[in-house]
Subunit: 305 residues, 2 copies
């Protein structure tokens, strides 16, 4: 029956591949899984970060992941010590964001947003699905990492929110399609986390975006990783780790498989009232920012006349 | 107050730019707007299609739209007869889909899916937002065209659904951000339409995808264009044109501005029951297709062992 996930996933002795596992959420998850007995492989671009992660992770590799070919090659390399067998689970944690005002973005900002928010995970998903399907690896798992910004969006996120919505579109498609091969697909929607990535995105984040987010608590990556781990073990199609994201999840659930009908109905009812209240408060803040923003753009020479 | 759109948009005498207006939905909408007194400019790649559209459209141009630079140049050209003034409305209708099995897609299939489903519209939105904001063109409009597959997805749509989800992410972001400039952003979610694009996508569509869609009625583009027109005039953030899409819209609404609280609550309640029923029927069809699919892949030499 839909909505019932009685089969718990056991990480012990499994080969888990975490692209993007050298820092932040990916690294925190790698630690948990290693503790639970998984053989964890991580791949990241940055050798320095990998070195720091080295002590606790069995198999760290420095390889690019930014194309289908690169992701397929990285996957092949991490599977070599496992006799070429596809991983039991692939958890695509790589990604980064660069919030900015839309009218100040150049072409590269938009393209990079899609590359760093979507493709960096999609390519690994593509390579992993092919490998798992070819090897008839039933019960294998692919987990994508989106963001609360995969459920909704607001000012400042025009390069990132489309990428995180795209991740959801891909995961929801594959959740249906990879049933053909007995491969499970899940997607995680983490909230604001205190990670190196968060510090990086704050460098370009517009003041108004920061102000709207100021009511969010910034959760340690380790705590968020525990929620992700729990979700991976329990198996719901969409994984949330805090109440706000669960409300967004409920109110954008659509045709996603239900996890708990009673909780879902409750969240739905709360969200029906809470969403417009949240939205109305954001809109008010954006409108109140109009004059300040006009002055800002004028000072930057944006207006020609 | 949120949820109240009392200001109707009047197309008479307005300059409306429709990239992708040479066929299908875009052309049908161009005809309606021309009849209502708009000065319609269309841009498309295909000169032949443009010639066919020529008779009824004031200003057809053949130009590429596949990068920010190209879209900005096309926008500049269509604005020349209007003294360089930004259009009153830009309605991004361009796009195409190529449904396939995920494990049979190559890198280009995935990249093209994002280009033809997302970027072809995003670039025009990017160029238009900059131009409108620079010219302080309050009351201007940008309309994106997603798909029912921007609200949900299933087997076969792994290159298209992410792009259409991304369009939603962009529109929802800009609906918030372009308030700063008094620019309205809307997004349309059309269902299956009988258009040249639909004939094209049927060439690669897997049999199982076709079977799942077989209960959809295929609506003429002219009828869908009338719904889009009505939506553009009335102003809701998300525009649907049939009941099924309205149910998906209700159940994935999230923080999107409400149009009608009573209708929304009703749709929510129907969707709460209808979505799992729909999903369960799709899953049943996918599972029933397993053996046939294994045979198909085997016949194609997909399995190495």
């Amino acid at each position: 029956m839909f909505g019932l996930f009685s089969k718990r996933w056991n990480p012990d002795g499994k080969h888990v591949y975490i692209p993007g596992g050298s820092s932040g959420l990916g690294l925190a998850l790698a630690h948990i899984l290693a503790q639970k007995g998984s053989h964890v492989s991580i791949v990241a671009r940055n050798q320095q970060k990998l070195n720091a992660a080295l002590k606790s992770i069995e198999a760290p590799y420095s390889m690019p992941l930014d194309s289908g070919t690169a992701a397929a090659m990285a996957l092949e390399v991490v599977c070599q010590p496992h006799a070429g067998e596809a991983p039991d689970a692939v958890i695509a944690c790589a990604g980064s964001a660069k919030p900015m005002f839309f009218v100040e973005m150049d072409e590269d900002d938009l393209v990079d947003g899609m590359s760093n928010g979507y493709w960096i995970q999609a390519w690994t998903g593509w390579a992993a699905a092919k490998m798992m399907a070819k090897q008839r690896k039933k019960g294998a798992k692919i987990v994508f990492v989106s963001s609360t910004l995969g459920y909704m969006s607001f000012i400042g996120w025009a390069s990132y929110a489309p990428a995180k919505h795209a991740s959801r579109g891909l995961a929801d498609t594959l959740q249906s399609e990879l049933m053909l091969y007995g491969i499970d697909v899940q997607i995680f929607f983490p909230p604001t986390m205190s990670t190196p990535g968060f510090d990086e995105e704050n460098k370009t984040k517009p003041e108004i975006t920061r102000r709207i987010e100021s009511t969010d608590e910034c959760v340690p990556a380790e705590q968020v990783a525990r929620s992700l781990y729990k979700g991976i073990v329990n198996g719901p199609a969409h994984i949330s780790s805090n109440l706000l994201t669960s409300l967004f999840a409920a109110s954008t659930r659509g045709a996603v498989l239900r996890d708990n009908w009673i909780l879902d109905a409750l969240y739905d009812m709360i969200a029906f009232i809470a969403m417009p209240v949240w939205r109305s408060s954001v809109d008010r803040q954006v409108r109140a920012h109009r004059d300040e923003h006009q002055q800002y753009l004028t000072s930057k020479g944006f207006f020609t006349s």
